[in-house]
Amino acid sequence: MYKVFDKKSWIVAIAAVTMVGCGQPAPDGKVNPNNVYDSGTIAGDTVSIDEGRYGDNSGRFNSSSDGFQSLYFGFDSYAITPEMQQMISRDAEVARGHGNAKIRIEGNCDEFGTDEYNYALGLKRAKAVKDALTAEGIPASRMELISYGESNPACTEQTDACFAQNRRVDLRLAR
């Protein structure tokens, strides 16, 4: 068998291994005055992606279109009231007039909510309208849902009347 290390080599090796991990200067001792170029963890720049060509901020989408009427909800509510039922019936008539075209139902909220909850609230409003239209005989397969949460206000003034305009569901043909 070959002798890989003699006794002296072992001592040197153990000392070297022991010193690994001792790079952190001792709190009370002098340190090597050599400067350390330490840009590794904070160097590099992040990408910047411009999607400005997508979407539409003209305001054309913050109300219903294609003959549909928007439906308005109470604060923190996704209940269909008897008053709303008449409008649902009218929207069902409009849907029937569009043959088998796909309908997009968009739920929206006022700004008095945070994070995900507001998006879920908008979705529940859209689903309530979908269920009501289904009860009116519109096939569920013709309808798709999307929640815009508080991202798509119809009105931006800080008034109760304005906030009420944002708690709504818009309908349009899916394109």
Binding site: G55, D115, A120
Partner: protein, 413 residues
């Protein structure tokens, strides 16, 4: 002006004692430090960054007096002998940003630590200071505060159906847009290294979850759903996601295994279940639900059917975060339906009903734990101004930085 506002907010927050917490760190155990600016062109902005970093660490009692002195050599100011350590620094802005630091023992001027930091982007200079302070903290063997080196990622609305996703340092002194235009929401860091984040894009129709590498721009499509789709949490190893999805129009919580591509539905309530966060060694989730008729915080074991109420105070608790058995949540506490409302952040435990307020004034929302669970971040709105706030749960130290957050959509740390 920004500096003046910063001082006001910082001082105000400390005097107001916004957080009522048990202070676990003995004040006497904190190191008394003073700062000395040795830059050829001294500026207090760098000093302010040092002060905020040292303060929020909870490990230092920092002298708020701005002083200048030659970077090399000892110090001749006898008044500083009462300190334990002096931090000398020299900031140079030429061919990028460079920061030299020296940590000296105040008693005899012994150099304890010395290091140079450099970065190509001058805009990123706050990170030089954060890295220096986290290194000084480590040299003195204090518990890790490397969270101050991390990016914050947030989305904000810029117009109807338009948003921007921005990365920032924790003080928001550095901000850079990563995705501008379109409607891109709910950014969530994908891993501990912060190389990538998940976000929901509405740009091409139905909500689509993407993973974006912020350094290469590589974008990977993860999932698509009608209704809504949000990544609310990522497992520590990055292999599993908690999603709020609505494939049939019903918002529920799913766990998505990135390795197998399998989704598992975790909640089945007919109302609203959203915002799930991993808790208790990732064996359970904490989430927001309206199953009692109002938004509140609940807990559920992964793989278990039982759902347990986690918070017993407040009637409108619609946002939360979790770290192991600790839960923070935002509670709406004013009775007016509209207008300025009071929201406060509370800390509670999954093991006991004990609950403590972390804020007491203004509108405080978007509570988020630091990656080590020791610090809580939140967004405060008060007197028409917004700021990002921090509470160190161990030391009780608090900080506020001014931040235009009126249209903030979501934030992650």
């Amino acid at each position: 002006m920004r500096i003046v506002i910063w001082f006001f907010l910082s001082t105000f927050s400390l005097l107001a004692i916004d957080a009522k917490l048990t202070i676990e760190t003995d004040v006497e155990q904190r190191a008394k430090v003073a700062l000395l600016d040795g830059s050829a062109l001294p500026e207090e902005a760098i000093f302010n960054l040092f002060v905020s970093d040292l303060k929020i660490s909870g490990h230092f009692l920092v002298d708020g007096t701005y002083r200048t002195e030659s970077f090399e050599g000892g110090t001749w100011d006898g008044a500083l002998k009462s300190k334990e350590y002096l931090i000398k620094y020299r900031y140079v802005q030429s061919g990028g940003a460079k920061l030299d630091i020296r940590l000296l023992k105040a008693s005899d001027g012994t150099e304890v630590f010395r290091k140079r930091y450099a970065i190509n982007s001058v805009a990123k200079r706050p990170f030089l200071v954060h890295k220096a302070v986290s290194d000084i903290n480590a040299v003195l063997n204090y518990p890790d505060i490397s969270w101050i080196n991390r990016y914050i990622v947030f989305s904000k609305y810029t117009a109807p159906r338009r948003s921007e996703i921005v990365v920032a340092d924790y003080t928001f002194a550095y901000q850079k847009s990563v995705i501008r235009g379109g409607l891109n929401l709910f950014p969530k860091w994908a891993d501990a290294k912060q190389q990538a984040f998940y976000y929901t894009s509405y740009t091409h129709g139905l909500p689509t979850l993407y993973k974006l590498n912020i350094y290469t721009g590589q974008r990977t499509k993860i999932a698509r759903s009608q209704g809504m789709l949000v990544c609310s949490d990522v497992s520590r190893d990055g292999s599993r996601l908690l999603l709020t999805m609505a494939p049939t129009g019903q918002p529920d919580i799913y766990e998505y295994d990135l390795r197998s591509g399998q989704k598992r539905r975790l909640t089945t309530f007919s109302g609203i279940d959203v915002g799930a966060k991993y808790a208790e060694e990732e064996q359970s989730i904490v989430f927001v639900s309206n199953r009692l008729g109002y938004p509140n915080i609940f807990k559920k074991g992964i793989g278990s059917a039982a759902v347990k109420q986690a918070v017993y105070r407040g009637r409108n608790n619609n946002a939360c975060d979790a770290f192991e058995n600790k839960v923070i949540y935002a509670s709406r506490e004013s009775s007016s339906v509209f207008g300025a409302n009071t929201f406060n952040i509370y800390l509670t435990s999954l093991d006991s009903p004990e609950t403590r307020p972390l804020t007491t004034t203004g509108s405080n929302q978007f509570p988020r734990f630091s990656p080590d669970g020791n610090v809580v971040m939140y967004i405060k709105q008060r007197f028409g101004a917004s700021s990002v706030g921090y509470v160190n749960l161990q030391s009780g130290a608090t900080l506020l930085f001014p931040f235009e957050a009126h249209r903030l959509q979501s934030i992650d740390w």
